[in-house]
C-alpha cells in the first residue's frame, strides 16, 4: 500500500523526533561516533521541518478543493476552474518501499539495541594498529588508567617498555573465546558500529572465577610479556596479569574513539 501525504508527514516527524531523541541523549553513542552529533540534530530538525511543510502545503492546496464538510444545498458556481484532476497519476503517494522507514524508527525508539558486544568481538580479529610513536607515561606508583587500545598498543608495539613495574587499570567488557579463555575487549569505532572493530587483551593472573560475557569490568593489573594470537586473524594479543577486578557501569561512550579523526 502506498503512503499518503499525512502518513508521510507522520513518518518524517517521528523519524526526525527519534534522531533528536537519540542525539540529545547518550543513545546515539551506541551507534555512531560523537562527532556526528551536530549533524544528527540538524537532520532531525530538517525532517521535522519537512513534515511541517508537507502538512502546511497540503492544507493550502486542499483548502480550495476539498468538498465542503457542510455542503450547501445549492452549490455555488466556482469562479476558478478546479485544479483536479492532476496530470500526474499519483502525485501525493510514495511507493511501498517507504514503509521500511518504520523499521529504524521502531529500532531506535522501542528496542534501542545495545552497543556491539562480545558476540561481534569474538567473530572479528583484533584490530591493533602500529602507532606513530609512543609517548612516555606520567611517572608515579599509583595505578594508572589506560584504555584497552593504549595498553594493547604499548604492550605489542613498544614491547611494554613504558609499562613495566607499574600498576595499571583498564576498562572494557568481558568476552570468552570458544575455549572459555577470558578477554577484556573494547570496540574501536571510526564512523559507525558497522565499522567497529575489537581490540582485545587476554587476561591471566587473578581472574575472577565467574565471568559473564558483556559485563563491563575495571581490571587492575600489571604488564606481562606473554602474548597470544587472535584465532580469527592471527594478530598479536597481549596479556594483562590481573591483580583485581570490579564491575563498572557501561561507559557513556561504549566505543573507543582513539582512531577517530
Amino acid at each position: 500500500m502506498t503512503l499518503n501525504r499525512h502518513a508521510q508527514a507522520a513518518l518524517l516527524f517521528l523519524t526526525g523526533a527519534a534522531l533528536l531523541h537519540a542525539g540529545t541523549t547518550d543513545l546515539y553513542l551506541r551507534y555512531v561516533k560523537p562527532g556526528l552529533q551536530p549533524l544528527l540534530l540538524a537532520s532531525g530538525a530538517v525532517l521535522i521541518a519537512t513534515a511541517a511543510a508537507t502538512l502546511w502545503y497540503e492544507r493550502k492546496q486542499t483548502r480550495g478543493k476539498t468538498p465542503d464538510p457542510h455542503p450547501h444545498p445549492h452549490p455555488q458556481p466556482s469562479p476558478h476552474p478546479h485544479p483536479q484532476p492532476s496530470p500526474h497519476p499519483h502525485p501525493h503517494h510514495e511507493p511501498g518501499i517507504s514503509w521500511l522507514l518504520v523499521l529504524p524508527l521502531l529500532a531506535l525508539i522501542l528496542v534501542a539495541p545495545p552497543a556491539l558486544g562480545s558476540y561481534s568481538a569474538m567473530r572479528t580479529g583484533t584490530a591493533l594498529q602500529q602507532p606513530y610513536g609512543t609517548t612516555p607515561l606520567p611517572p608515579g606508583r599509583t595505578p594508572l588508567h589506560l584504555t584497552v587500545v593504549d595498553y594493547a598498543t604499548r604492550a605489542v608495539y613498544d614491547h611494554g617498555r613504558s609499562l613495566t613495574g607499574r600498576p595499571l587499570t583498564v576498562t572494557g567488557f568481558v568476552a570468552l573465546d570458544a575455549r572459555g579463555r577470558p578477554y577484556l575487549v573494547r570496540m574501536a569505532l571510526t564512523c559507525c558500529a558497522a565499522d567497529a572493530q575489537p581490540v582485545k587483551i587476554a587476561l591471566t593472573g587473578h581472574v575472577p572465577p565467574i565471568l559473564q560475557p558483556d559485563t563491563w569490568l575495571a581490571v587492575t593489573g600489571t604488564y606481562t610479556s606473554r602474548r597470544t594470537t587472535d584465532p580469527v586473524n592471527h594478530r598479536p594479543i597481549p596479556y594483562l596479569r590481573v591483580t583485581g577486578a570490579h564491575p563498572v557501569p557501561t561507559p557513556h561512550d561504549p566505543y573507543d574513539e582513539t582512531w577517530n579523526t
Binding site: 500500500m1 503512503l3 499518503n4 501525504r5 499525512h6 502518513a7 508527514a9 507522520a10 513518518l11 518524517l12 551506541r30 549533524l39 544528527l40 537532520s43 519537512t50 511543510a53 508537507t54 493550502k60 492546496q61 480550495g64 476539498t66 468538498p67 465542503d68 455542503p71 444545498p73 452549490p75 466556482s78 469562479p79 476558478h80 476552474p81 478546479h82 483536479q84 484532476p85 496530470p87 499519483h90 510514495e94 518501499i97 517507504s98 521500511l100 522507514l101 518504520v102 529504524p104 529500532a107 522501542l110 539495541p113 545495545p114 556491539l116 558476540y119 561481534s120 567473530r123 602500529q130 571510526t190 559507525c192 558500529a193 558497522a194 565499522d195 580469527v232 592471527h234 594478530r235 579523526t261
Partner: protein, 385 residues
C-alpha cells in the same frame, strides 16, 4: 443532468477569465468550491444531492480520486495500527530480539541508518536546491558542451561534495532532471564519494606508512568514474534510465516545490537506504570472518574477495579506509580495490540507485561499475603501489 452541475464547467471552460490559469496551479484563494470536479461531468451524471462522493476519513480526503479513498484502510490508519501494535507488543518483541545474533543485527542496522541519514538529508537538501533554485542554463554554461569533455569535468567536480555516498545519489538524480547529460551526472555520482577531501584525509590518516595509497585511490576512482561516464555515453540508452517520476514543478511556488522534493527524496531514498542497511547488517552479523583469511593467500582472489567485501559491508566512504587498514593480511592492491569499489557500488547504494534511476538502470550499471573498478584497481595497484 441538473443545471446546478452543468453550470460551473461551462463557466470554467469558456466565460470566466480565471479559467486560463494552468490546471496544475493551486488555487490562490480558499474559495469554497463545488464538490464535483469538472472532469467528472461528462462521464458521471451525479445526482444533485449535496452528499460528497464517499464518506472518506479525513486523512485521505485530500487525495485525488483513487482506490484508496474507497478502501476502508488508509495508509495513515495502517501506520497508526503498526506503531500501536509495536508499542503493545514491545515486551515479546524485545525478548525475540534478545539473541546475540539478533542484537548484533539490530545494532548494525540501526547504526548504518543513523549514520547515513544525516548525509542523506544533506544530499536531499542539495538536490532539492539544485532542482528548484539553480536554472538549467547554469549547468549548460558550467559544463563543456561536448559530453566527452563534460564527463571528466563533472568527475573532478565530485571533489567539492563533502560527505559520503548517500549524499551523491539524490544530487546526481537532480542533475539528470536538470538537463545535465547523464554521462556527466554518473561520473559525478561515482567520483564524489571517493575523491572528496574528507575521504582522502581519512585515507591518509589510516595509511600513515603508505601515502601512495591516497594518490592511488584518487587516480583509480577518477579513472573509473570517467570511464563509466564515457561507457554510458557510448553504450547507454536513455530508456534504461527511468524517466523522472515527477514533472518539473510548474505553477507551485518555489517553497512548495523545494519541500515537496525534500519529502519525496527522503521517503524514497530513505526506504532504499533501509533496505540496504538490512542487507549489510545481515552479512555483518551472519557471515563468518574466517572466509576472508583463506582468500588473503591468493593474490587475485584477495583482490576479488575485498572487492566483494566492500560491496556487502556497505561502509560509509569516510570510514572504509580504517577498515581497509585493519585488513593487513591483504595486499595493498587488494585494499585499494576495497577503497575504490566501496564508494561506487555497495548493497545500500545499489538499492538507492535502483530507487532513483530505476531497476533496469541499476542492474546494468552496478555490475559494469564493479568489473571496471576491480580492473582499474589492479592496474593502478600494479603501477603505483
Amino acid at each position: 443532468m441538473s443545471t446546478a452541475h452543468t453550470a460551473p464547467p461551462e463557466r470554467a471552460d469558456g466565460t470566466a477569465p480565471p479559467a486560463s490559469a494552468p490546471p496544475t496551479s493551486a488555487p490562490p484563494a480558499p474559495v469554497p468550491q463545488s464538490s464535483v470536479p469538472p472532469a467528472s461531468v461528462p462521464q458521471s451524471p451525479v445526482p444533485p444531492a449535496p452528499v460528497p462522493p464517499a464518506p472518506a476519513p479525513p486523512s485521505s480526503a485530500s487525495e485525488p480520486p483513487d482506490p484508496e479513498q474507497r478502501a476502508p484502510l488508509t495508509s495513515s490508519l495502517l501506520l497508526t495500527v503498526v506503531l500501536l501494535l509495536a508499542v503493545v507488543a514491545q515486551g515479546p518483541l524485545r525478548r525475540a530480539l534478545g539473541a546475540p545474533v539478533m542484537q548484533t543485527w539490530m545494532t548494525v542496522f540501526t547504526a548504518v541508518v543513523v549514520q547515513a541519514l544525516p548525509f542523506l538529508v544533506l544530499g536531499v537538501l542539495l538536490s532539492a536546491a539544485i532542482a528548484v533554485f539553480v536554472p538549467p542554463s547554469f549547468f549548460a554554461r558550467a559544463l563543456p558542451r561536448h559530453p566527452a569533455l563534460a564527463v571528466p569535468v563533472a568527475g573532478a567536480a565530485g571533489a567539492v561534495l563533502p560527505g559520503c555516498e548517500c549524499a551523491s545519489v539524490p544530487v546526481a538524480g537532480a542533475l539528470v532532471r536538470r538537463g545535465v547529460t547523464p554521462a556527466a551526472a554518473l561520473a559525478f555520482l561515482l567520483s564524489a564519494p571517493a575523491i572528496n577531501p574528507i575521504v582522502l584525509t581519512a585515507t591518509a590518516v589510516a595509511f600513515p606508512r603508505d601515502p601512495r595509497m591516497v594518490v592511488a585511490r584518487l587516480v583509480a576512482s577518477l579513472l573509473v568514474a570517467c570511464a563509466m561516464g564515457w561507457l554510458w555515453q557510448r553504450l547507454g540508452r536513455p530508456d534504461w534510465l527511468r524517466p523522472a517520476d515527477r514533472a518539473v514543478h510548474h505553477g507551485e511556488g518555489k517553497g512548495a516545490a523545494f519541500w515537496g522534493s525534500v519529502r519525496h527524496d527522503v521517503m524514497h531514498a530513505g526506504g532504499f537506504l533501509v533496505l540496504g542497511a538490512m542487507a549489510a547488517a545481515t552479512l555483518k552479523a551472519v557471515a563468518p570472518a574466517s572466509w576472508l583469511e583463506r582468500a588473503a593467500a591468493h593474490p587475485f582472489l584477495a583482490v576479488l574477495a575485498l572487492a566483494v567485501l566492500a560491496v556487502v559491508l556497505s561502509i560509509c566512504s569516510e570510514a572504509d579506509a580504517f577498515v581497509a587498514a585493519s585488513l593487513s593480511q591483504f595486499s595493498l592492491t587488494a585494499r585499494l580495490a576495497f577503497l575504490v569499489v566501496g564508494p561506487m557500488i555497495d548493497l545500500k547504494l545499489f538499492a538507492m540507485q535502483a530507487g532513483t534511476f530505476g531497476r533496469g538502470f541499476a542492474l546494468r550499471f552496478a555490475p559494469a561499475t564493479f568489473v571496471l573498478a576491480v580492473l582499474v584497481s589492479l592496474l593502478t595497484g600494479a603501477v603505483l603501489l
